[in-house]
Symmetry: C2
């Protein structure tokens, strides 16, 4: 209809329906004591004048926003998207809405983001990773809402944790290769410390190799994280050029692992005949690729749904102490490493 007129309020609806604003308010809440007939009359009146409930006023008065803040490193990552999905689905029945921000794998950006999100007064906040700036940590500690760190198992959590050890997961992968008799193993990852999970994986690789008494210097830095298929392919190219006797490659993610695989295909290097390849994340590409890629499934969807469940438990008072939910990534041995 018109666009200039001021938006109707509950008072307008109340006048039209012949009730008090208070009753209109009740009619818009789920479990409130309004007779069914008046409720319907009110909703009908509201609809007729195009009234749309105003959360901003409700939020202020009730001191509740029904927001859950979430930070992820990147929107464009199937794993984090799955976590988000698990979170979103677990929260929407309760009318909780996700307020999302992405950090671009940068903890300084995370700090800005967290402050911006806290201004909106969310009921809980979920962050990815267990490493933060001092100020971020302080902000989260003072926020007086449930804080959940995910995708990691920090030594000193801020509040709750739903995650796994990236280092331990990679160790399992190294063990797998060693058990197969492969010893000249390389690691392809990003080159900065920005991606803390990627760094943890690389360090887990180094520690695991040393534990086996093996050379842990075949490290290929493939560019600024997050590295993707193209970077994975380029990194594999350099690896084949400089260390042609490499027998196995562990990539920081399935995407880079797949890129590495395609580079082998372009060069006629047999996988797994001459080189075995493994990734991380159990992306769909890992299963569909020919050969299918050995990988680790960190159950990203479950991370989200467990976090959502935890939030509801805390808000309902069923959980009163900091929880530490450990996810156990599953090693999926596929054709690319056997």
């Amino acid at each position: 209809m018109s666009t200039a007129r001021k938006a109707p309020t509950m008072a307008d609806v109340a006048r039209l329906a012949g009730v008090s604003p208070m009753t209109v308010s009740r009619a818009f809440k789920r479990d409130s004591s309004v007779s069914e007939t008046t409720r319907e009359a009110i909703l009908q009146a509201a609809d007729s004048i195009g009234y749309v409930f105003d959360s901003t006023a409700s939020n202020l008065r009730s001191q509740k926003t029904d927001f859950v803040a979430v930070t992820i490193p990147s929107i464009n990552n199937a794993n984090f998207a799955e976590t988000l999905r698990g979170l979103s689905d677990g929260l929407k029945d309760r009318g909780l809405q996700i307020l999302l921000g992405y950090t671009d794998y940068d903890i300084a950006e995370e700090e800005r983001l967290v402050e911006q999100l806290l201004r909106r007064r969310p009921e809980a906040i979920v962050v990815t990773g267990g490493r933060h700036t001092a100020r971020t940590r302080r902000l989260l500690e003072n926020a007086a809402i449930p804080v959940i760190e995910t995708w990691d198992l920090p030594d000193a959590p801020i509040g709750h944790v739903v995650g796994f050890s990236n280092a331990a997961a990679v160790r399992g992968m190294v063990d797998h290769f060693v058990a197969r008799g492969l010893t000249r193993i390389a690691f392809i990852g990003g080159d900065a410390d920005r991606d803390t999970r990627g760094t943890d994986r690389r360090e887990g690789f180094i520690a695991a190799m040393r534990a086996h008494g093996l050379d842990a210097t075949r490290l290929i830095a493939a560019g600024a994280p997050p590295i993707s298929m193209r970077e994975g392919a380029a990194a594999m190219g350099r690896l084949l050029d400089t260390l042609p006797d490499t027998e196995a490659v562990i990539a920081v993610s399935d995407l880079s692992a797949f890129g590495a695989l395609t580079e082998c295909q372009r060069r006629g290097v047999a996988v797994p005949g001459r080189i075995s390849i493994a990734g991380f994340g159990d992306y769909e590409i890992a299963e569909v690729a020919v050969p299918a890629l050995t990988t680790l499934n960190p159950f990203p969807r479950e991370i989200g749904s467990r976090a959502a469940g935890l939030i509801l438990d805390v808000l309902d008072g069923r959980q009163t102490t900091p929880a530490r939910v450990e996810i156990r990534p599953e090693l999926l041995i596929r054709a690319s490493s056997r």
Copy 2:
């Protein structure tokens, strides 16, 4: 520190800094007239008691939320993620934050979502697609904020549009195959009408084939949209079983196209020797796959950034009439079809 104490307000900060709440308010706004010394004193006082600005109160009083609502079909889709990225980056300098919801490719779900989002009083709303329920349309028309439909070119737009014709894009793909002398062309897509863009693409395929006087019945329904790599592979399997003389395949997306490609590899069917394959979306996989996949780049990032620019233009009064920004998808002919 403590978690039980009530959160400090501007009044607390004002008391501590020895100024009025009004001045504290100004200190937290960017371009307001406060002397630099008092501003710093105020911010320092705020920090010392852990004050965090409360947007909920600000939103109500100023009737501004700095939210831009966005609906996308799925979080877990690289194309929409790119659009989101373009939007987010284009809006964040202005302090506008995205309020995201996903519809799961369902316009009934979209209706619920749009209402929920409008309750938060966003300054603008961006929706994916040009088909909506009648009520969604009414809600958007009455919202008195800029409405932008994307990823489509609707005949009767609600407000602004940033998109392209899915049907026309596929026509270009058909033309490409026909020009190469291929006539027995199949289309792999989802089986329902839920994914309106997928449906548009299939219909564009049929229309284009008929325009060339070719048989447009090689249609493989690959399951509930969005179909992905696995479904693409399965669909290709069925196609090879039932219509083995097919010369070319157009898939509704690169993901399903890649799945189809892998099925060919598993069966020893040469691509493009015996079958040419094309996808849609210019996902990274299309470029990295061996052979690289012919595809269409719809410039998803640009859709987002153009939408963001449009929002700023409208909010600043530089754009006063409904805009129709047409994106021209680029046909990328790669090894899989030559």
